[in-house]
Amino acid sequence: MQIEVRVQDLVKRYKDLVAIDHLDLEIQKGEIYGLLGPNGSGKTTLINCILSLLRYEKGEVEIFGEPMKPDAYHLKQNIGVVSQEPAVYDELSVYENIDYFCGLYVSDKAVRKKLVEEVIEFVQLGEFRKFRPKKLSGGLLRRLNLACGIAHKPRLIFLDEPTVAVDPQSRNRILEGIRQLRDEGSTIVYTTHYMEEVEFLCDRLSIMDRGKILITGTSDEIKAISRSGETVRVETFDLEETHLKALEALPSVESLEYGQAELVLKMKPKTSGLLDILNYFEHHDIPMTKISSKQPTLNDVFLEITGKELRDDV
Amino acid sequence: MRAFKLYFKVMRSSIAAILTYLGIFVVIFNFIIQAQLPSEKEDLNIQEHKIAVFDADQSTVSKAFTAYLAEHAEIVELEDTEIAVNDALFDGDVYYVIRIPQGFGAQMLDPERNNAELNARGSIYVHLSIASAQLVESYNRTFQVYKQVFGGSIPEGQLEETLDSIRTDLQVEVSTRAFQSGDASKLGLLGLSFNYTFYIIIALLSAVIGGTLISMENQAVKRRDLVSGIPERQRTFGIFLATLLFSVVLWILLIVILYSWLGFDLLNDNRSPWLIGVSFVHMVAILAIVNFFITLLRNKGSVSFFSTVFSLALSFTSGVFVPLEFIQTPVRKLASFTPTVWAVKANETIVNMPEQAPDYFFVWQAMGIMFLMAAAFLCLTLVVRRSRQRSVA
């Protein structure tokens, strides 16, 4: 598999703080690669180091098999970046903004015109082409921001939380668009806090924290390492203490809680938890009004790996 | 008090910018005062003659003439080029340039002539040209008189003696006395310096208050405040009080700098408190005007442009930089709708106040007018804020 981005032993410090700590990374051609991590984990710093926007103390970065440098214009020609903060000109219209940024990569007018029209259709901003950014809603602005970053059809695209504060319709459109870009051959690096986006989009993902990559793999691979099994919820009234003790003693049950007519059972991983509970209830003729089961999510794994506190410092 | 405290908290983020403005304007202010500092002389200050002489004749007569000029004026050595002469006149290094042409001596001695050609060039200051011309004419006419004494021509053998006599006759003394003590001159400079504080206050207030005010008037923030328990009236009052306190501190700083240069002993002069009073009232009026315009502006980017235009326009048309009598009447009339011209006129009145039976009626009048202007602009500001409040709600 061709490696589009290779990072080896990258170290970046901000004075005493180690923002990137001997990080290795490989991103394959044609994949959507997710980068997850709490605030301050180093995701944006990593991307900026890969792009040579930030100086780093140690390590090597290669893009398309060549070392990445600030003046590697032939590499930059094929890279697109969509930053978290909308980076557009308030004075120019939607069309003019896209044309301007596309023009930094594509000098041929005719080709550029075609590309601009295509990307406007892609992000569905056709009826807003004469609008100025201030007149756009948050979602439309994000779409514009996206369009400006990808209009020149780059081979490698970095998307830094492109759907923050975006309405569901725009969000859907953006996510579908990203998939379409991948299908058309682009490699995409995607950072986000939204787990459902990662599960929907990413072929592979890495979880990052404190400048290190903690785990890399597909969504399923990562979920599989979770120490938690499924969670079973049963709605039942007046469950006796003896039954609670018996249920807790079942080999597949990790822990349980009962309150307000709801029994919540955390099952051990790789066990047939739901079946065991159903059997018990049937066997003891205990009535239940409702039962549900939920497999551990990526969010659960994420919180398990990085810690349950929300860290907003750094 | 919340809005009052908030103003200073918001201002904290622009403290570096505020200090930058303050630094630049204090430097300007220091130079202004330094340039105006009076000499230590107790006597009457009279502008000295500063003359450059180019003697192409080099005769006995021309040399005697030049020696006479040297006794009555400061002779400045200059290169005889157009640029050097122009520069010297323009810079005030020389006020009068005299060219003695060839043949001057012969013409002076010529019995058929009662004068000799002499070229001169003055500076912009016509008074100093007139005074220097008097010097020149005095010598020439006295020489002609002595020619007539000898029947129309001075015998060669008596030329030196005659030249000496002329020189002696022209050595006179006219005493000068200052009507008031040296402090009177300083008081005049104090008045002038107070005028310059008007410009500094206008420029500083409009530059420095604007940014913070606009941040606090941000629509989203205001909306939040309006739904809180704080009445808009209280909020407005808090903001105004904060800007007033800040302005007072700035004003005090400028006054302290001013007096530290000119001497704190000037505070003992009974006119000093009047100057301070006028300056304070002017500051309040300017604050009200600045508040009004900033309320209208709403855009941080416009504030810096506004502050420069407003401060310079007001100062130029109100007699701060250019004496009022040089400003055309229609402009002065227009400027009378602003407080600065009233403050300048009041300062002039105070500085020129007679010692016997001083009459400060005009000063009270000017202060009253400035207060009224402050009140008027304050009301206008409240009206604009009230109408904005309705549109935000």
């Binding site: 970046v81 | 009457l44 000068t176 235009v309 310079l312």
Partner: protein, 407 residues
Amino acid sequence: MFKHITKYKTLALVKDQASLFWTLFFPIVLVTVFYLAMSGLLSSDMYQFDPIAVAVVTEDAKQEDLEAFETFLDYVGVPGTPGEDDGPLQADADPEDAYIIYTKVDPDEARALLDKNQIYACVEVGETMTMTAKNARNSSNWRNGSVLHALLERYAQVKNTMSSIGKMAMTGAIRPDPDFGDKIRQAFESDAGLQEEDRGTKQGDVLIYFFALLGYLTIFPMSTTVLSVAEIEANQSPRAARSWLAPYPKWKRFFAEILPVVVLYSILNVIIYYYLGALGVGFGSQTGYILILLLLGTLTGIFMGTAVGSLFKGTPGIKTALGIGLPLAMGFFSGMMAAEIRKMIKDSVPFLHKINPVALVTEGLYSLYNYSTLDRYFEIVIRLSIFLVIAIVLTIIGLRRSNYESL
């Protein structure tokens, strides 16, 4: 790509109506206000000499001194009367060609007149002449002292000469003939042959304020360009970060972005120049050289802004303060607000004066107006060009970073 960036920068400039408004409004308003304030100085009436109001006290004078002085007064002045309501002394006759307006009073009255500023000075006639005046600097009359002193000296000199001639006649050194007195009088009254040049110096010296104003306006663009670096440096705006990632060298992008700014301000300063001309402020006939100087000044102002913006690591607030404050300070040091400051700076800190770009433009305009040769002008152009080159080099040094320590 250069053209593409320039095109869109121009579009953004033109479409940013708020900034455009202020960019145009500020200089036009300033020039108009300045003209309204200063135009009074331009009219020659303002430099006409007004007769000096004087009180004459003769209580201690001898009879012969009194007669001589009265003759002198008739020769140099006209009698006057104190104005109503403590107004200044008014001439009783036409004061044209008079140097003084005088009134004869006793010492107490003279003090009162002086105290109330109805007169400039009080002259006591006696063995020695004494003039008493206030030292307070009143702009319209503080130079009267020189003229009055010179006149009084003249009187004393004539007295001395007459006395010397009298002694010579008494000792027999000279033998006056019958019309000797007439000849002496004629000699005293003869034209001294003094010819004063006026090459428009006065006009030019007043125009210096307008020269300083134009100089200030050429440097004024610094206030906008000090922030323009934020569009180039990736650590100062997200737009700049996006543009940084484009395959185009930063310094080329910078010049492409700055070109429309240069054009805009150059056109603006040309408009200002012609606007001043339309108002009646003439800068002389060497329009071509003037426009070159203005363009050079504009470029200097623009790149001074970019140099400060790229080298100075401060918040936008501080940069704005510098962008506004520095040109004002430079204009001030060039005498835009107070002419004596220019002289003071030139005397006390000559180096500062030599490198102040506003002062350079001011002096360049002055030299074109006043001098018949262009030597001075070219000297100033060279100095200004060196300053410009330094500003450009500093800008490039400031922009040379290829990447950043932090964003």
